[in-house]
Symmetry: C2
Subunit: 221 residues, 2 copies
């Protein structure tokens, strides 16, 4: 009984994701779903990313949290259009569902926008299960979270198209095995690109920006 | 329809939690539910905690992950009985449900054990919604996760009885506002004890251990 209902909810979500995908395709917008644990640095990465995509790529951002508009307030300072979704209004959802993203997107003026980034709710489990109509998914893992996370949360690393290994500026102060985490990612997703970055120092950003630009250009020319 | 089913699932969970609570009470065991984001340091804290509770308090541990037995392997080295739950066998659940904890507990010999610690799945959202029959709940927040997390994930901080602010050894290398995070916790849960600790250096452990011992002794004498 329970499984049946869960399947039904997922199938409703898939239908809405399909509608979103068509809408984004008509608008010629590439959609990136960015996911991670709480505090891995998604917002900090985006603060440093959107400016570097200019002038070729104009971005817009939808940011999901259970509560607060902190992230939208921070991201608005970059000058890109930002919409904050607070899932507390929908029962405190632990992920962004397709219909919520679709509603938020319809409030954004996407003319002249080539890239819509959806910063999902901080959660390394549930968001991986919900298609939102995106073109690509990236997972952010902070080096402070430990090398074993790809093996412990395999679905997230399986469904994503690239991984960002953030906060590399802290490596001198951690017992963190860089090679081990990359091996663990490869065990789950053998050909996944891994970008080692520091949102603080912007080390490693050129490779990440180049990859992202290529993804967007493949869709929207 | 969806809400009705979710309520039904939660109510089944509450019934099982009630059964667990009776079982633990009969066994004179205090049960602590430990929750956090992935990689906040729950396992490291427990590695340093169980030895410090001896000789007054003997512990056992149930540890929940989606995949791997990494944490149980680490915790077994402390000499306490440990059982690993992999929720991948139950559809990759993002939290520990009461019946799963009850099953695992029935496999543990709790004679002579005063404290059962349940290390929940790394997730700052969903585990807060599921009663497992525990006597107390603690949330671990790493200083690398940022000051705003109590405001963004209020349910977790509302339902917990104490907070551990971990990885304080990294403070010199972070732009982290200690007072802000404590103010944010107090906004959600005004009288919550906050223990600032480093699992690496064991700074701050005496106050945490003292609090934990008092909780256990209140129940089991």
């Amino acid at each position: 009984m329970e499984v049946k209902v869960v399947k039904k909810v997922l199938s409703v979500n898939d239908t809405m994701a399909h509608q979103n995908r068509k809408y984004f395709s008509d608008k010629k917008v590439f959609v990136l779903n960015m996911m991670s644990s709480p505090g891995s640095g998604k917002t900090s990465i985006l603060e440093k990313t959107v400016g570097r995509l200019l002038p070729e790529i104009n971005s817009a951002i939808i940011v999901g949290d259970i509560c607060t508009t902190n992230d939208a307030d921070r991201l608005a300072k970059t000058g890109v259009p930002v919409i904050q979704i607070c899932t507390d209004d929908f029962g405190g959802d632990c992920h962004l569902a397709a219909h919520i993203v679709g509603n938020a997107a319809s409030d954004l003026d996407l003319d002249g926008v080539q890239l819509l980034i959806v910063e999902n709710v901080g959660n390394l489990v549930c968001p991986a299960e919900f298609d939102i109509g995106e073109d690509a998914r990236v997972v952010v893992l902070s080096v402070t979270e430990g090398e074993d996370k790809p093996l412990k949360y395999p679905l997230m690393f399986r469904v994503c198209d690239a991984a960002l290994l953030n906060k590399t500026d802290l490596l001198p102060y951690l017992d963190f095995d860089r090679e081990a985490v990359i091996n663990n990612i490869r065990q789950i997703h053998s050909d996944m690109p891994v970008f080692e970055v520091s949102a603080k120092t912007q080390d490693g950003f050129p490779a990440w920006i180049l990859w992202l630009k290529k993804q967007v250009e493949k869709k929207v020319g």
